[in-house]
Amino acid sequence: MLNLTPKKIYERSALRVNPCKTCQPVGALYAALGVHKCMPHSHGSQGCVSYHRTFLTRHFKEPAIASTSSFTEGASVFGGGSNLKTGVKNVFDIYDPDIIAVHTTCLSETIGDDLNAYIQDMDLPEGKIVVHTNTPSYVGSHINGFFNMMCGFINYLSQSTGVKNGKTAIFPGFVNPGDIREMKKIAKLMNVPFVMFPDQSGVMDAPMSGHYEMYPKGGTTIPEIVGLGDCEKVLALGELTCEEPANVLERKCGVPYELLPLPIGIEGTDRFVMALSEISHDDVPYELEEERGQLVDVMLDAHPYYHDKKVAIFGDPDTVLGLTSFALELGMIPKYVITGTPGEGFVRKATALFDKFGVFDCTAKAGADLFELHQWIKNESVDLLLGTSYGKQIAKAEDIPFVRAGFPVLDRYAHSYFPIVGYRGALRLLELISNALMDRRDKDAADEDLDVVM
């Protein structure tokens, strides 16, 4: 496996090998799926959205709907205005969503289609809405696409009436439905009335009923998005993912925001809980304190199996930072911490975590790829890989235990139903990590060394 990867590291400035990011539109599509009765629409040639739907379906094992402007060469030369117009009409006719969320692709961006103008020109059926965002794939990554689409919804829809609605908006970041459910559980336990935006739970984890629902029960509703403008406050989870939409909402409607890391691990979750308790002015209920206590209990019990173990962590910036933080809390050494998404903020934050826990010789890099990570590992190996599915190649090549987390996980089932956020999510991560390391020890043990009790 990966036998062409040499140990010797060459500087690369142009060749990307085995990327650890993908393009903006897929993030926009995912964000739009978190809005109730919304049809994501890709304004470009149909190949992009075919790839994006495939990618999301492979991760969630759920249908991911989206329509397309189906550009051909003509549209690429003369502009995609008429394609969009026809497309929108047909989508409302055939699929009957309440709202269409348009994002662009490299193609429509490169030719410079003016979506604002196109949309203003449209005759829409009564009560139906079209919003858009720009998602040029040659900037940032799918993470940018995700927050750009959030901004698109806010820009078009959110209004401040001057009367607050008493709710807190929670921006969950680029996470799985299982994570969103956990965040909701915590907010409910904390007695904080909230709006989750976007909310893919109930959409990308819809149950089997024998009847396909094109628009399942879940998703943030349009009135809720409008009402974001009247929220008391935004808790923006994922500092590198959610700052932009929080900012847009603040500028547009004057809603203040608090930026927090994803609640992964003890400290991340503590901060989320503390922020909620500041809003509710309530005590933290015993139920949460119990969960936290259980987590710490197991952390202590199992520490010999992960303490001081070296781990390489890769994936999306906020997820990786959260996982790094938790690895440090477990006493592990996050030897290599990378994301494919560019941005030095990631490196600063990762380095701050290293410093805080006093670990040395750890490397963080943004805009990196899995080829580079593999080369580092060839030079100095780690005990565990923690990240997205493509890591399995490295795991196999170097025979390193591997725990999957983040986006995408294409080769396992049910993962998206379970959280990695919250105290419960941390406990699950702990179990996955210690199991992987302990399985490894069992596998490597000589017969006389195999411990039945560990």
Binding site: N90, A206, M208
Partner: protein
């Protein structure tokens, strides 16, 4: 109203007008039934189609294991086509490019100021790190628009590094589906690779397998059987493919065309340029495999080869007889719908028939009329603006390398017996009353599932979970749901096993919770304890 009319009736006038030409009900009493294909998808329709790049890089070039295929464009396209198609490949040294994704990952300045510089630099780095013998450059949407001359960069690369470097302008917006990309890839391989090798075939019974991508290991199962009979497989286009083998493909005496849509251009051009005949084979399905093997034997016309063919067929059938019977008993009488790319929707009907499963609907994602109606209709197909944009290259007989295997008399004799240098299309293998749909979309999938109630709906991942949520088993015929091989004798059994498993897995029985069918109150009343 039949199912077709019921469905079409739900469309608005404009969509109706378009779609009615793409959906037909097979009627054997009507000669030459026509279908519209290879035309634009209407904007807004949730099509399953991909793009030109997907056809070129994803389908035809992607499986080649000994070349560095570099996607020139922003990151997405390259990323999505990385290790996701299950075109298996192995090499002796373990050095295998298809495990990797290479991209120039274009950034905004590259779009604004042009990306050639970055492409050149990426090639330089690729040479330093991987030192490939051959680089294929595939461009994505923005590249054509900003006017990067990838062909010039390829030419420079050849000069500077002394390697083969071929550029493919397969921008996603070209053509109306993946199909244009197949054609572009075919052209590049024909122009630059095929015919450049000087390693002659070792035997008379030398063949190439065209349009076989080794999904789930299909090609390995096919080759196993062919080798057992005594054939030499010179090259496979392009499953487990190697540029070295493709270079020498013109030394083979016969081309076997498996996927007609994606590779027919090469089959035709090789016939013109090198005199190599082709036959349409189908190694999916037992009867289909057997008849393909017999056609091959007929082509070579050697009684010994024919005898050996029959021997192997008998041996192979004997080895699977018991399992075949078992799965047939589980599957007989079921009905299926199939929607796949460009040949499988035809091929798999025959495999299903082996197990007693009838096909009620079949459709292609990016086929042309000839894939449905047979190649005889090609002269009558009108070129539209979209197909004109895909280059068609003219080749001539190569004065040195042109040779014909069959004498004119043998050729004439065979022509009536086997599909020699031609393909009769899918529709002729379908029953009256079954439905054919071109470019089937999300809405039609949902409606036809309801109207035709097939027991199994074969399609791709984008449809799979929608179909299953409606209570119907769906298996992916692009990726085989991570199983396979499905080709040849052993493959047929794998297929039967997977299908049986899917239909009989206990989960289907748990969809309705007990409280939905019987209220708790009634149950206790019936029990009589209150």
């Amino acid at each position: 109203m039949n199912a077709r009319e019921v469905l079409l009736d739900k469309y608005s006038a404009r969509v109706y007008k378009n779609r009615k030409e793409h959906i037909i009900e097979v009627d054997k009493n009507i000669p030459d039934q026509q279908i519209t294909a290879n035309t634009r998808t209407i904007p807004g329709i949730m099509t399953n189609r991909g793009c030109c790049y997907a056809g070129c890089k994803g389908v035809v070039l992607g499986p080649i294991k000994d070349v560095l295929t570099l996607t020139h464009g922003p990151i997405g396209c390259g990323f999505y086509s990385w290790g996701t198609r299950r075109n298996k490949a192995r090499t002796e040294s373990g050095e295998n490019f298809i495990q990797y994704c290479f991209s120039t990952d274009m950034q905004e300045p590259d779009i604004v100021f042009g990306g050639e510089k970055k492409l050149r630099q990426a090639i330089k780095e690729a040479m330093e790190i991987f030192n490939p013998k051959c680089i294929l450059i595939c461009s994505t949407c923005p590249v054509g628009l900003i006017g990067d001359d990838i062909h010039a960069v390829a030419a420079e690369t050849e000069k500077e590094y002394g390697i083969t470097c071929i550029a493919f302008s397969c921008e996603g917006y070209k053509g109306v589906s993946q199909s244009g990309g197949h054609h572009i890839a075919n052209n590049g391989l024909m122009r630059r690779v095929i015919g450049t090798g000087d390693r002659p075939a070792k035997t008379k019974y030398s063949v190439n397998i065209l349009g076989e991508y080794n999904i789930g290991g299909d090609s390995w199962e096919i080759e196993r059987v062919l080798k057992k009979i005594g054939y030499e497989v010179v090259s496979v286009f392009t499953g487990n493919g190697s540029i070295e083998a493709i270079k020498n493909s013109h030394h083979a005496n016969l081309n076997l065309v498996q996927c007609h849509r994606s590779i027919n251009y090469i089959a035709e051009m090789m016939k013109t340029k090198y005199g190599t005949d082709w036959i349409k084979v189908n190694f999916i399905g037992l009867e289909a495999t057997i008849s393909s093997l017999r056609d091959m034997a007929a082509f070579f016309g050697d009684p010994e080869l024919s005898a050996r063919t029959e021997e192997v067929i008998a041996e192979e059938l004997a080895a699977i007889a018991e399992e075949r019977e078992y799965y047939r008993s589980k599957l007989k009488g079921k009905t299926a719908a199939l929607y796949v790319g460009g040949s499988r929707a035809h091929h798999y009907q025959l495999l299903l028939k082996d197990f007693g499963v009838e096909t009620v609907l079949a459709g292609y994602e990016f086929a042309h009329r000839d894939d449905y109606e047979g190649r005889d209709v090609i002269p009558t197909i009108k070129e539209d603006a979209d197909s004109k944009n895909i280059e068609s290259i003219e080749v001539e007989a190569d004065p040195e390398k042109f040779r014909v295997y069959l004498s004119p008399e043998r050729y004439e004799e065979l022509k009536g017996k086997i599909q020699l240098d031609t393909y009769d299309g899918m529709i002729k293998d379908m029953n009256s009353g079954s439905i054919v749909v071109d470019d089937l979309n999300h809405f039609e999938t949902k409606e036809f599932t309801r109207l035709l109630k097939p027991d199994i709906f074969f399609s791709g991942i984008k449809d799979k979970y929608e179909i299953q949520k409606n209570g119907v088993l769906s298996r992916q015929l692009h990726s085989y749901d991570y199983s396979g091989p499905y080709a040849g004798f052993n493959g047929a059994i794998n297929f039967g096993r997977d299908l049986t498993m899917g239909l009989y897995t206990p989960a289907w029985g748990y969809i309705n919770p007990p409280w939905k069918t019987k209220s708790v109150l009634k149950a206790s009343l019936a029990g009589g304890d209150k």
